[in-house]
Symmetry: C2
Subunit: 231 residues, 2 copies
Amino acid sequence: MDTSHPLPPDAERPLLAVDVVIFSLRQRDLQLLLVRRRYPPFKGRWAIPGGFVHVAESLEQAARRELEEETGVHAVYLEQLYTFGEPRRDPRGRVISVAYVALVPADVTARAGDDAAQADWHSAHALPALAFDHAEIVQYALQRLRYKLEYTAVGFELLPHEFTLSELQAAYETVLGERLDKRNFRRRLLEAGILEETERYREGESQGRPARLYRYRRDAVTEVKARRLFP
Amino acid sequence: MDTSHPLPPDAERPLLAVDVVIFSLRQRDLQLLLVRRRYPPFKGRWAIPGGFVHVAESLEQAARRELEEETGVHAVYLEQLYTFGEPRRDPRGRVISVAYVALVPADVTARAGDDAAQADWHSAHALPALAFDHAEIVQYALQRLRYKLEYTAVGFELLPHEFTLSELQAAYETVLGERLDKRNFRRRLLEAGILEETERYREGESQGRPARLYRYRRDAVTEVKARRLFP
DNA sequence: ACAATTGGTGTTAGCCTGACACCAACAACC
DNA sequence: GGTTGTTGGTGTCAGGCTAACACCAATTGT
């Protein structure tokens, strides 16, 4: 009797890639990092950074590696987004792409990795034509980002370590694409108990009154509990 | 000058699998379908149904195929959950598993596929030891199911085509693990406009007053808009 | 017919949301 | 140094929504 079971032939094994949509706030605009492809297919086209997963590496490790190659940062917010695996999404053969979303502070600078001729920030609202199905991935990432922002506290991840409430509000407004009431915004975030007041102020950078700096309480629960449809 | 770019060697290609967590409501209990593995590794252990993705097949097609092999149904709710890819999660080598969640009506019966000696429903609250990292996958699926139920209308997917409001409420209560107020529950769902009243009643199946049967309005928007943290 | 069981319906108090205006602290300019 | 402009920071209130709550209706079984 047969006790073993055949694995698929090598020809059926796909390639495994991770692609990372890296968001940041620059010049009061929501931007994401794109690289220009140095090799075919889609040579010369803009794409989101990514690459193949190494043998002994977890998916998240691979995503962090790609992220670090392009930006130099590693201790930032990173979350798995979705896995794209249409059979013909890559002309070289079957390539499965596990997409991640990263949020990096505004002071991070881009740098080109090995596979990319250039790496540059692009406004999320005015993107060039992208390679592969990357437009779809970006679309999905944007949706997820807005959605998360509405009911969690990830907004901080887009700002420097210390920030003013106005900067935080501007970040929310930029991502959500709508204006928020100042007093209500402040009340909510302060009552949520996820901010820590510092003794310092942001001085001399604008011409108005200096604003108090706040810090994200890393010890607080990461996800603000969403309000529920049923009690 | 080099204009091509090497692909990873075949040895680095992983195997690609889909695994499907199939939920259903049976005997007023949230249950999920498990199969007993017929081949090593983990021969004899319970596992969630799954298998390798064929070359020309999309991920969702593969998930629907596995689903149909085990249950015979195909037109049901199916959603990608998460991709698990730890390097050593499968002793046979690198296997990437794209996990899906399926919700099937209560009247579906299990049937063993080719790779499984048995297929049976198990209470989600009392599961046996599972193969691979499947316990983790199930945990994650349960979390997602509860979460979605709180702010969307997927509850119907667990019920037959026509159902009473009491049955729907019982479904919500079973999954969420808490009791809901009857009047508030009815009011919300009726006001949401996603239910369609039928002319029929469920008669003779219980000893009380017959209950009106409702139907899910497939033409309505699938996702009830979640309430938002910021207006 | 009587008991038991399930189906179906409205009101209200309290909370939360969203809308709204003014004074404070600093910089730039005169 | 005073005046103007700019940004920071604070409290209230009305209205809507949520959650809590009890009784009559229609059927089955005895």
